[in-house]
């Protein structure tokens, strides 16, 4: 009777599947994407430049007005910061889920959820990018048809820092695209 129980126990132990191999490529891609989105968010959020302008001259004393350029003056940049912030949070959560392993699984829905969330993340990040790219292009070149003056000749470092945040965001999008394709390819059809 005891040996039969021991045999049953041994059988149940061998029926437990092996731990799946950790995917280091995907993990390192996510870490890089997290770094890129986080840096894009931070650089754009801390983007600020103050400059003094001489507006008029009364007698011999010039009147100076100091104008500040901040990121939250434009809704496009606000959306950019929010989108990249959410994207970096999502990457952090996905890294955590990858590290913690397959303990979080509900009837095999884990990979499907990861693929769908990755897709949503990619769409959000690319939306933020598109808006900020064209808004900063408008700031750099102005628009003669609508009589909108360019602002980048006066606020040089503001524009340069915004450009750096945009480049980081583009890198993040490429990494996120590769990550999403890899997560979708992990979904194997049930035969």
């Amino acid at each position: 009777m005891a040996s039969g129980n021991v045999e049953k126990l041994e059988l149940s132990f061998s029926a437990v599947p092996d731990k799946p191999k950790k995917d280091w490529v995907l993990m390192s891609l996510r870490v890089l994407a997290f770094l890129a989105t986080a840096s894009a968010t931070l650089v754009m959020a801390l983007n600020k430049q103050t400059k003094n302008f001489v507006v008029a001259t009364i007698g011999t004393t010039p009147i100076t007005v100091s104008i500040t350029a901040k990121f939250h003056h434009t809704p496009a940049f606000i959306f950019f910061v929010i989108a990249n912030g959410v994207a970096s949070l999502h990457n952090l959560v996905m890294i955590g889920v990858d590290i913690l392993g397959p303990r979080f699984d509900y009837k095999g829905l884990r990979f499907v959820l990861i693929a769908i969330l990755d897709m949503m993340n990619l769409v959000l990040a690319s939306a933020g990018d598109g808006a900020a790219t064209f808004m900063s292009e408008l700031g750099r070149n102005g628009n003669t048809h609508a009589r909108w003056d360019k602002i980048c000749d006066k606020f040089e470092s503001y524009c340069n820092r915004g450009g750096a945040a945009l480049i980081a965001s583009f890198i993040a999008i490429i990494l996120l695209l590769v990550t999403t394709v890899m997560s979708i390819s992990k979904l194997k059809p049930k035969n």
Partner: protein, 166 residues
């Protein structure tokens, strides 16, 4: 069983056709929007080519229209549907970024930007603004349909043989 497969195929085809129609109408409405107005002493014509954002919107939507048209003719059980998932993803991304860019510039045109001393132009050219809004709405509908199609493509890759409602 046969009727469910057929319903599923028809539903999928209908969604793709709707997306094709939405992107096509977005392109047409945006490309035909132009209005002349005279502000003070100078003539002022508002066209979609004035802004690179609207040009990008038209180009991206025309690319997606051509893609949508080609995909309509893909036979339902071919193995190319796996590639279609990846290309669907790329084109959805393109669509989303083009709408977001056009929306950003249109918002500046409508409300202006007091910090940068940019005046809104929609007061002088209201018909142009309305047409651009219409094109953006069509683009937004196309974007939503493409996201639904993406989820559907993942579903098809996951279990191509199990019959479900689309």
């Amino acid at each position: 069983m046969e009727s469910i497969t057929k319903a599923r195929k028809i539903c999928h085809l209908l969604l793709r056709f709707l997306a094709f129609g939405a992107t096509l109408s977005a392109v047409i409405v945006m490309a035909t929007s132009h209005e002349k107005a005279s502000v003070l002493v100078f003539q002022f014509e508002a066209k979609y080519t004035n802004t690179p954002a609207f040009k990008y919107f038209v180009i991206a939507n025309s690319l997606v229209t051509v893609y949508g048209f080609l995909v309509l003719f893909l036979p339902p059980e071919s193995f190319l549907w796996r590639l279609a998932v990846a290309t669907d993803l790329v084109f959805t991304m393109l669509l989303v970024s083009s709408i977001s860019a056009a929306l950003a510039i249109a918002q500046v045109g409508k409300k202006g930007n007091s910090h940068a001393a940019w005046l809104p132009i929609c007061n002088s050219v209201p018909k142009f603004c309305n047409q651009v809004t219409g094109a953006l709405v069509a683009g937004a509908i196309a974007m939503i349909i493409y996201m639904i199609l993406l989820l559907n493509s993942i579903h098809r890759v996951l279990d191509p043989l199990i019959l479900r409602k689309c």
